[in-house]
């Protein structure tokens, strides 16, 4: 499974990140369903962690990331503080966005994460623009934009990718393809030979990768990002994966054919595959168990701490809207 030259340390880091993402989301689901502390919808990326861990492993703090409503994993892997993220999910003071965005609008500009987005596909033009801005300012960091397969059927996919192509921007578009557009099988509503072909038609180099294989994602995205840092133009990565949960944590996903999820999860769970790979590399089961336990303990603590944090002050409802004509002065 692993290419030669990949060291155990990197493989282990990928597992650690994937375990942390999964533990974070498992605790977010507990907070929603058991504790009723997450009041809005959350869109778990359980099963899709390889993409977050593999791509983000190559980014610096100053590189830019834009993500989707299913973006907890990408954000955590970009370096955001899980406690600030969990506080955000709970709508609390000290959340990444002060409790004003929630799960779908998590952003942490301090680590270059310019926002998850509640509108499918909307981040594509914005990400292209962030790369455009970087170019205008003469900076040397790069942009990674992650979206799902559903986004490929929205207009901004065409407009944003064409834009990046025309202006030769330093951006990697990643289609994290979990095969479902909300609750509809994407293939059933998508014409043509697929998203990579669409990107190629717009002039981008497009690469396909097994999105459940963290090592492969890391290897391929590492090569692409190296090309971007070397001045190469925009590229496209299509990573096929599988969403273990429904569209939201409350969605029982009864629209899936019977047995599909069980079969897919057994075959492709990226964490199980990474554990197997590490065992094959000689790591002990006790080490793997330790990674799992540590991630679970970390996120249990995070949830506990987040739940103990107060809600934001009422005045925050009027803050940070605009400077001129601010509702702090004039709300009516």
């Amino acid at each position: 499974m692993l290419e030669s030259g990949h060291n155990t340390q990197n493989a282990r880091q990928l597992l650690v990140m994937m375990e942390r993402i999964r533990a974070f989301e498992e605790h977010a689901i507990l907070a929603a369903e058991r504790d009723r502390l997450v009041l809005g919808a959350i869109h778990p990326s359980i099963g899709q962690e390889a993409c977050a861990a593999g791509v983000m492993a190559h980014l610096n703090r100053t590189d830019i990331l834009l993500s989707t409503h299913r973006g907890h994993g990408h954000t955590l892997a970009k370096g955001a503080d899980p406690l600030a993220m969990m506080r955000e999910l709970l709508g609390r003071t000290g959340g990444c966005c002060g409790g004003k965005g929630g799960s779908m609008h998590i952003a942490d500009f301090g680590v270059g994460m310019l926002g998850a987005n509640g509108v499918v596909g909307a981040n594509i033009t914005i990400a292209a623009g962030a790369a455009h801005g970087i170019k205008i300012l003469g900076q040397d960091h790069i942009v990674v934009d992650i979206f799902g397969d559903g986004a490929a059927n929205r207009g901004p996919f065409l407009e944003g990718i064409n834009w990046a192509s025309v202006f030769e921007l330093p951006i990697l578009f990643v289609c994290e393809d979990n095969q479902y557009s909300a609750t509809t099988r994407t293939g059933s509503v998508t014409g043509g030979p697929g998203v990579a072909a669409r990107a190629e038609a717009l002039g981008l180099r497009a690469t396909q990768v097994d999105g459940n294989d963290a090592e492969a994602v890391a290897r391929v995205s590492g090569e692409i990002i190296a090309r971007l840092r070397g001045g190469g133009g925009p590229e496209f990565l299509h990573a096929v994966t599988y969403r273990h949960t429904g569209h939201t944590s409350f969605d029982p996903a009864t629209y899936r054919p019977e047995g599909e999820a069980v079969k897919e999860i057994a075959a492709s769970d990226p964490i199980a595959r990474q554990r197997a790979a590490l065992l094959a590399m000689g790591l002990g089961q006790d080490v793997l168990d330790g990674i799992h336990t540590a991630a679970q303990a970390e996120m249990e603590r995070v949830l506990k701490d987040a739940a103990a944090t107060p809600f934001p002050p009422d005045e925050a409802a009027f803050a940070d809207v605009q400077d001129i004509g601010s509702p702090m002065q004039e709300a009516y």
Binding site: C97, V119, I126, G133, I136, E159, A319, V321
Partner: protein, 327 residues
């Protein structure tokens, strides 16, 4: 003071802002050749293709990309060509740009000027003639400006570029050639209305090109011994309630006139605010002029049915004075 046209005034403001700040850039279709109306003539020669950026016909990408570039520290001036086309970028403006700062808890800013030429422009029909300013006034997070004179198109453009909020900047495309004196040292505070004419008998509140018609109407009224005070709001958010309320308290009469469809137009907001805060000062019926809730046609006689004219403003002002019943 220099004589210049409405279009030249804004171009000068953009040119000066770009010369002063390397992070200011313009993005839109056909800008290198000057833009569809010539608003950017000569600027690509001066500032190059990386700062006067010609784009594909991709309104969503123009708006979205400018926003992304604003979040990383540039100050884009976004050209939408016709305000009608900006509707292709509504998600980017309304769901993204207007909300990002709030949703992200103050982490982001979108210092953008979004130019959307509005208004009736002979025989341009229903998709090139709209005035949708009241939509934008309804969206928290946006500043909404409607300059009506060369001076304001200079001073307000400068203020808009300097503003850290997203500014929806609505120029009226029928007055690109309107000439006037411009004092480049004059600064305009965003949200301050302009008293275009003083009067004691009736207050006429307007904005955009209709404010020019209101001034014309006030001149006619003056010839008939009626003193009309014309308030050009210039900004719809924030808007100068204080000047309007003070004027209505003085005159006791109110006409609001705008080119946009009257139903749900910003005139309703002005009238409602006066009713709430100065209703006791009203001495006659209020008149509200706007387009009928129909569509702008191509044929000139049909197009004219949508038009608010200076004569209509004169009549409305007299009705407030005579206490005539509304239509």
């Amino acid at each position: 003071m220099v004589m210049m046209t409405y279009i030249e005034a804004a171009r000068l403001a953009v040119q000066q802002a770009m010369a002063a700040d390397e992070t200011v850039w313009c993005v839109g279709e056909d800008l290198g050749r000057g833009g569809v109306f010539g608003q950017y003539l000569g600027l690509q020669v001066e500032f190059g293709k990386d700062r006067i950026v010609d784009t594909p016909i991709s309104e969503a990408a123009i708006m979205g990309a400018a926003f992304g570039a604003a979040m990383v520290g540039t100050r884009p001036i976004v050209e939408m060509r016709f305000s009608d086309f900006a509707l292709c970028a509504t998600d980017e403006l309304v769901n993204q740009i207007a909300k990002a700062r709030f949703m992200f808890g103050g982490q982001s800013r979108a210092p953008m000027v979004i130019r959307k030429p509005v208004g009736l422009w002979r025989s341009s029909a229903a998709q090139h003639s709209q005035s949708l300013e009241s939509w934008y006034a309804h969206i928290p997070g946006l500043v909404v400006l409607c300059p009506s004179t060369p001076q304001d198109n200079y001073s307000m453009m400068k203020a808009a570029i300097a503003c850290d909020d997203p500014v929806v900047y609505l120029e009226h495309k029928n007055i690109w050639g309107l000439e006037g004196e411009v004092d480049t040292s004059l600064e305009v505070e965003i949200g301050a209305a302009s008293r275009r004419r003083k009067g004691e008998d009736v207050t006429i509140v307007s904005w955009s090109n209709t404010a020019n018609l209101a001034v014309e109407a006030a001149e006619t009224l003056a010839g008939q011994g009626i003193g009309a005070e014309v308030i050009d709001l210039r900004a719809l958010w924030p808007w100068d309630k204080q000047m309007v309320l003070a004027s209505v308290r003085k005159t006791g009469r109110l006409v609001v006139a705008h080119e946009a469809v009257r139903v749900g137009g910003f005139g309703a907001e002005v009238v409602a605010t006066v009713a709430e805060h100065a209703g006791d000062a009203l001495k006659g019926p209020v008149r509200r002029l706007g387009a009928p809730r129909s569509l702008v046609a191509y044929a000139p006689n049909l197009e004219d049915k949508m038009r608010v004219t200076a004569d209509m403003i004169v009549t409305a002002a007299k009705e407030t004075l005579m206490g005539a019943a509304g239509k």
